[in-house]
């Protein structure tokens, strides 16, 4: 066990999740080391999206949602604070469908800052340009920063959403199938971006794409029927799977 694995950025301890009487996750425990990419894979309905959405408390609004066990961010239980919005500044999220707000590109970028901080707009714009550059989007949009964000292509919108999430300098970013609505080239750009981002941040990604998990992630957890069937380093998991179930899944025998 190396230094990073001893102090995980996110530690999920014996988490059980129910929606009303419907048990979705059973006794899930995962350690997500700092500066790594952790992939959640598994067939539809296995609970991986529920798990990732519980890490920044996006399930709090869902009727009947109940979580037992602990989710720790740098050692602190995220469910003890009454206000989830403080947590969501530290843990960013990018969704399956790109979700820019119906305002301009620049307004999308500075909105998170004006929401939480006071400061000069010119300073915010500068920061926004910096983040757009970090997401390899600035060159493509620099002439239309004040145009509606909806005029961008799907891939560009998704990178805009990633850049927007970076504005609050989160230490962890959650990606819920970020490429499933995108074409292969946009997907490739975003995968490169993920590897770039993990230098300073911790990343958790839910994906249905086995190749993607293999390409970008350092660790993988295989969810099946609400439990973790297998988890560990991605190389090990994909080349020498311990369970027959995972072997079948990664070779595409079921999905």
């Amino acid at each position: 066990m190396n230094e990073e694995e001893k102090n995980p950025a996110i530690k999920i301890e014996n988490v059980n999740i129910r929606y009303g009487d419907n048990r979705v996750l059973n006794d899930v425990s995962i350690d997500v080391p700092k500066n790594s990419i952790y992939a959640f894979i598994g067939p539809s309905g296995c609970g991986k999206t529920t798990m990732i959405r519980s890490i920044n408390r996006m399930n709090d609004f869902v009727a009947g949602f109940k979580l037992t066990g602990r989710v720790l961010l740098n050692g602190t239980d995220i469910y003890t604070d009454k206000k989830p919005q403080v947590l969501r500044k530290k843990i960013g999220m990018v969704f399956q469908q790109p979700n820019p707000l119906p305002v301009s590109i620049m307004q999308n970028m500075i909105l998170p800052l004006t929401e939480h901080y006071r400061g000069a707009i010119s300073h915010f714009r500068e920061l926004a340009e910096q983040k757009l550059k970090a997401c390899a989007l600035y060159g493509e949009v620099k002439d239309k920063l004040d145009k509606p964000a909806f005029e961008l292509s799907g891939g560009q919108q998704q990178r805009l959403c990633i850049a927007r999430a970076l504005m609050l300098e989160p230490s962890v970013i959650l990606f819920d199938e970020p490429c499933s609505a995108l074409d292969p080239i946009s997907t490739h750009t975003i995968e490169d971006l993920l590897i770039e981002l993990k230098k300073e941040r911790t990343i958790i990604i839910v994906t249905h794409n086995m190749e993607q998990a293999r390409r970008v992630s350092d660790y993988t957890a295989f969810f099946y029927n609400g439990v973790i069937a297998e988890a560990g380093q991605t190389n090990k998991l994909f080349f020498t799977p311990e369970t027959e179930l995972l072997e079948k899944y990664i070779t595409g025998k079921f999905s």
Binding site: M58, F61, A63, R88, K89, L101, P102, V103, P112
Partner: protein, 313 residues
Amino acid sequence: MRHKNHLIGDFAGHTYAWASIGLAVAVCLFIIGNVAYLGADIISLEFLTQPPPANTRITTEGGILTPMIGTIILTLLGILIALPISLSTALYLTWYTKKGIIKTIIESSVDVLAGVPTVVIGLFAQAVFTQPWLGFLSTRIHIEGGLGKAFGRSFFVAGIAMAIMILPFITKAIIESIKTTPKEFPEGSFALGATKWRTVTKIVLNSARPGIVTGVVLGMGRIISDTAIVWLALGGSLRMPGAQPWYEPQNWISTLQHTGSTLTTYIFFTSPAGEGSNPILAFGAAFVLIVIIIVLNAAVAAIGLIGANKVQK
């Protein structure tokens, strides 16, 4: 052969659809045209700027100034009272309450209220606003012996009654609009750490804007065309009987505390179908009424568009 049948079916369908549209538009245009033809003659600057005489049964003199202003005042009052209540009710039902007994009760009350005839709302307003302690909304009647009563008929009372009438329609239009908001917008906002209140007021209400506009237009149409509430809660004085001159700012409150009329009751008082014998006046007023409805609808739509453009920038 089959293909040919389909073509015929297609042609028949198109023809039917166009014929239906044509009929609906033709009826609308015929009514407007007919009212304009019969009423346009009397329209003059004097007709629009003079108050009617005390009794319209015997004379065609005077104009429709006070009923026209009455219509506008009631519309504004009704919308101003109903809109904030509708907005918060809609937001509460869609974002702040979970399924349960309270939600069911509120939702069914809104549905029931939508079906209450306006004459019943007018009666209710009479029953409530004649209470002496609500006298500040209309005028107090002092009787010998000291036991006073409120008159219970005024622009304030009628405005409140109108608001009650349109409340369910605006509320439902806004709820439907909020429900169709794509969930990606609020989710994105939450994920950026925005509070529920900020998300709901900035993101959700903004995308519900078309529903709000629809609700307001619907509500205005109903207020402008209502007669029963005006009859029961506003009274029947064709002029403004409050402190004179009624149009000066210091007398506005007094005017609103007193009775008045709208174009619909004016039509009732002048038309032989109602109480009068001067159809020419009734048609003139009807024409002005239609013009007001068209202008108000256009104005509200324009307000919605201006706001939408601002968001797009």
